[in-house]
Symmetry: D2
Subunit: 387 residues, 4 copies
Amino acid sequence: MIITDTISTFFTETRQRTEDICAPLEIEDYVVQPVVDVSPPKWHLGHTTWFFEEFILKTYLPGYQIFDEDFAFVFNSYYETVGKRVVRANRGNLSRPSVNKVYEYRKHVTGAMEQLLSGEVSKELHDLVEIGIHHEKQHQELLLTDIKYILGNNPLLPVYSENFEENPSQDYTQDWIRIPAGIYEIGHEGSEFCYDNELGRHKVYLQDYEISNKLVTNGEYLEFINSGGYQTFHLWHAEAWDWVNQEQRKAPLYWHEIDGEWYRYSLRGLKKIDLKAPVTHISYYEAFAYAQWKGYRLPTEFEWEIAQPFFKWGDRWEWTESAYLPYPNYTKADGALGEYNGKFMVNQKVLRGGSVATPNKHTRHTYRNFFHPNLQWQFTGLRLARS
Amino acid sequence: MIITDTISTFFTETRQRTEDICAPLEIEDYVVQPVVDVSPPKWHLGHTTWFFEEFILKTYLPGYQIFDEDFAFVFNSYYETVGKRVVRANRGNLSRPSVNKVYEYRKHVTGAMEQLLSGEVSKELHDLVEIGIHHEKQHQELLLTDIKYILGNNPLLPVYSENFEENPSQDYTQDWIRIPAGIYEIGHEGSEFCYDNELGRHKVYLQDYEISNKLVTNGEYLEFINSGGYQTFHLWHAEAWDWVNQEQRKAPLYWHEIDGEWYRYSLRGLKKIDLKAPVTHISYYEAFAYAQWKGYRLPTEFEWEIAQPFFKWGDRWEWTESAYLPYPNYTKADGALGEYNGKFMVNQKVLRGGSVATPNKHTRHTYRNFFHPNLQWQFTGLRLARS
Amino acid sequence: MIITDTISTFFTETRQRTEDICAPLEIEDYVVQPVVDVSPPKWHLGHTTWFFEEFILKTYLPGYQIFDEDFAFVFNSYYETVGKRVVRANRGNLSRPSVNKVYEYRKHVTGAMEQLLSGEVSKELHDLVEIGIHHEKQHQELLLTDIKYILGNNPLLPVYSENFEENPSQDYTQDWIRIPAGIYEIGHEGSEFCYDNELGRHKVYLQDYEISNKLVTNGEYLEFINSGGYQTFHLWHAEAWDWVNQEQRKAPLYWHEIDGEWYRYSLRGLKKIDLKAPVTHISYYEAFAYAQWKGYRLPTEFEWEIAQPFFKWGDRWEWTESAYLPYPNYTKADGALGEYNGKFMVNQKVLRGGSVATPNKHTRHTYRNFFHPNLQWQFTGLRLARS
Amino acid sequence: MIITDTISTFFTETRQRTEDICAPLEIEDYVVQPVVDVSPPKWHLGHTTWFFEEFILKTYLPGYQIFDEDFAFVFNSYYETVGKRVVRANRGNLSRPSVNKVYEYRKHVTGAMEQLLSGEVSKELHDLVEIGIHHEKQHQELLLTDIKYILGNNPLLPVYSENFEENPSQDYTQDWIRIPAGIYEIGHEGSEFCYDNELGRHKVYLQDYEISNKLVTNGEYLEFINSGGYQTFHLWHAEAWDWVNQEQRKAPLYWHEIDGEWYRYSLRGLKKIDLKAPVTHISYYEAFAYAQWKGYRLPTEFEWEIAQPFFKWGDRWEWTESAYLPYPNYTKADGALGEYNGKFMVNQKVLRGGSVATPNKHTRHTYRNFFHPNLQWQFTGLRLARS
């Protein structure tokens, strides 16, 4: 079956890519968790592996030997259905299993999966493996953002890799793309993989709107800072204003003002701000305040989806004005995988697009990413709209 | 001008009604703040008065004498534009100004306002007074819900008034109202008063849906409790599940299980649960979990607005699935009154309808109420929808 | 029996004095609890009454009718032995029972006690009543300090009474009293009332020491402030330094710097600092840091007790260097009254003396008061010693 | 000079011993900090090294090259005098400097120190080096207790070393040693090394007392548990009772009840409780409650010091009833080393003796260890006294 070949290769490549991301790390970098939102790289390596063991190998590979009975407790993330687990905030307190042991675990599971995929692959199994692969790709992105947080909050500001380019320049003219009012179709179609939260293609009515062909740049964001944006309460939501003051925010995450000049920590180390690069590591609160200050607004996720053929995207996850809610007719999958998306559909904002940290073949124009509005550690960005 | 007469009467009636609500209280009941979301009744009395003084009398009544310069500090709620204020959590720590002094303040301001309204009233002034009146009506509702919280969390469970009926029976057959897919118009129209967040009447596309003619009753909700609803994680959002466990929730607010029977605290004191009355004092989290358990869902605020002519509403504020977001073309008012609605448009859910505590002439079918999804202390309720 | 007459009069006078202290209050002042260490005056009135009802009337007065069964729950402070109680932090959330109801409760219990004391009084009963009276006297002091906190933290800074003089001047020459090394006797002797923590008179060996005849004054303390004492970490304990920085302390409690001049809130309202009055409302941390800065130290409680005949005391509770620990042979009383002192003998510091708020006949030279080292709301002060 | 030889050898042995303690660790074990009281082993290695660099090499070795300018920030513990530092709670968030880099740092500093000590050594330098060595020995003990916490709180319960014997049996008859009342001398004498807090030998008066020749055993402590000791509030201090309930304590740290039998985690892994071994990993709160339950008490540190020649000690740090306070005539050293002891003299309890984790030549009969009363992670124990 040709399907086997593809999924098997896709699986092997994805597993390898995860390990490539970790190659520049010291053993110590795999272990720490400086804030609760960040997980230790070692945990990502183990968790993505446990996912295949728990949801696939235990059921589909006859005679499969579980690598270590205790690992389900250590590497379950939030699946209530499949049992107890280490509290998220404690992931960085665990020195064991060691990094070497986790790599052995990966080898054990990858090998067993490859054995499984070398035979005939049913549609049901294929679909589960596909979810497992995309799940691991999501963690590849988190690996990069968590590694950046771990190194970027270390007083020594170590370099991850000189080869990681974060800042594609946007050196072209800003324009407004006009979309006329009318009924449009939203959501995934076709047989390619997508998550349950993109399904249920449906009609929406959009008013006339315009949307920028460019992301907001560091240079433009600096004007906002210099104009006193972080000190002007009427630009901010009430909760955002509390956040700015309690956390004493004055700039995006990783920005440092040194002797009157702005620098940013990047995966290449501490560098001067590049004025033409799109701003990143801003919260929704900051994205909204910037738009208020400019007299514009953020697009909704529907406006973004309809207009996206007309602009280049994929450098930054883009905050939208939309809350993360179910589409009409949304239904959760049965069993543990039903916990994947639906239970987060409250108090979060939708982001659209993708980022420099997003793996190959992972995002698409109907992909709905979501985070709490105060979070900055992703490679987030901002595109303006107006009515 | 006939307009004067109306607004003047409307003003006087509203001011009187606020004081009527407080008539059954002991002095001590005016002072306490058992949780940060609840304000002392004394504070509501002062704050609604300060609103007229600050935004109208200081500007429009020549020679007006401010009652007490310190009161702006004590009775400002959240208007950053007009200066510093007592931190919300400290409102219940203030024994002074005394209740008598606050009533003197009310008399002083009501008198000055009546004097102002006895003359010619410009459109601009009229509109400001109208906002002030509706602002006070909002606080009338909060007064009742805060008084209920203050008394209902006292171990002596005192009665507020035997005359306050909370529980209109819904003793009629449940039916589903069907609405066909299509383009509908949402938002306020006409010249009657409304808030800025209802403006910008606009088209939306709705899919086919059905909505119940009845609210969910105590009897139905009791089945959810008895079936283990509060112990079944897959019915809840992830944040909701944390809330249930941290707060050890097992029933709506004010419910007490005594010797195997369910009672609820009402403004008439502790009473047995009335099975035919609509359930109330539930959070959005609970409303959502109930709907999941039934296999249905909550309506969006748009579905509610279009279907509302076909059902009776007004007994409970009804949680919707919609997040509180700006309508297309929403713009904030200038100055301090621009802080009224827009800055809360993140992390909150829309409620539609009105409740037994809502004052006369205060709500309407386009009214958008909003609260954080964990709050229970309003007279909230739940209506089911399905696709 | 002559004993009856004395104890009966002592009881009646004490009960009256409590109510006199509250006479200047507004109803609202009885209710609030701005920090957890402060109790609402209403609560003190009820608690001291409940103490007589619970520990005496229920047992010793045949046919006594409990005033209200719910009050044990509301007015128990910390007696685990006698049942559940309102959590301390919630005392200020209770508007009921009303102040009037609490005064009725006092009248009911005072009357019953007077009836009981009009008959023959056994030694056992006499001793219990004596404890009850001294317990109420302790609460009289707390009433004054809590009232000061309630009014002194109100932005309107209301006056309690023009008649309350807090600041006896110490306008005489500072001298050092020399005590030679040797064995001394510590602890209560004689048949007068004392608490269990003063009992077990025993020998201690003291080294040669000197102790000041005067308390440190506001003028002297101001020099410490002006010399940068609050910014000089080596004067402070490590925990004290954290406290100074987290709480941003720069002066004693109730001091306000207004246009470059120092004022203090007193029970007479806001007044200029009196340079010759003894400093007050300082924590142990501040007392210690001041002594370090001067090159001296605080006395131990034993040094204080031996030297006290040679100096005037009673204006300020005086922090000592001694931790609050049991004397040799200390044993707790049986039953609920055994919870009175012993269970607090960890992490607290001993204070000796008495203050302007201490009731008549309440303190004595062996009296051991105790508070956590960070607390400032008592009328505390500071006397220096040196070796 | 013979003095050089001794101190040089003592230095080299001590440095080596620290590294021997860490030899069984995986790299990952060096990095984590599961609670704020525990420091990562990597940090101990660096901090003890920085101590020699900062206080000795920078001043005494001409031409010394600082290994890395950033390390002062990373490895300063609490010396305010010498500059800013990583907040204690963040030590476990630092993956860099790597373990290898820290060992290079050790080698660099050890080599420079050996060079310095190979020449003539002044008295001043000798005394500083001696403090540095004893400082490192204190951290050797902390290394063992912190490693135990790191491994003992890991769900995999890994073994540190099969060779570490924690539990010397106390298989001999319990006896009471009687000490008559009188004046005794307390504190260090002679020219051997001691800390400043042991100095100022002075007289104290002790009452008649008796003290046990044995530590309380696991078997005896188990009787306390089985009799309901953790559920009986009158045995506990008020703060201790809150601690028991908030932390849900039911046994010493590291005890696990599995299928009705008690096990303990030790550095050799999970083992059954040894009934004849002295109980360990108890807080002062637990030691006190046990003594209350037995009808005895804890000794004071003075009683312990006078009676110690008559019993074997050194297996457990023994909680005393004494608060950690300065001896008469105590004076802090000048400069940064003055921060060593004095600033902790509030809210802590004295422990006497030493433990299985205490390095050779480190403790002595006048040594005063001190911890907060709730801490359990040291090898603490309990000896009874009575009057």
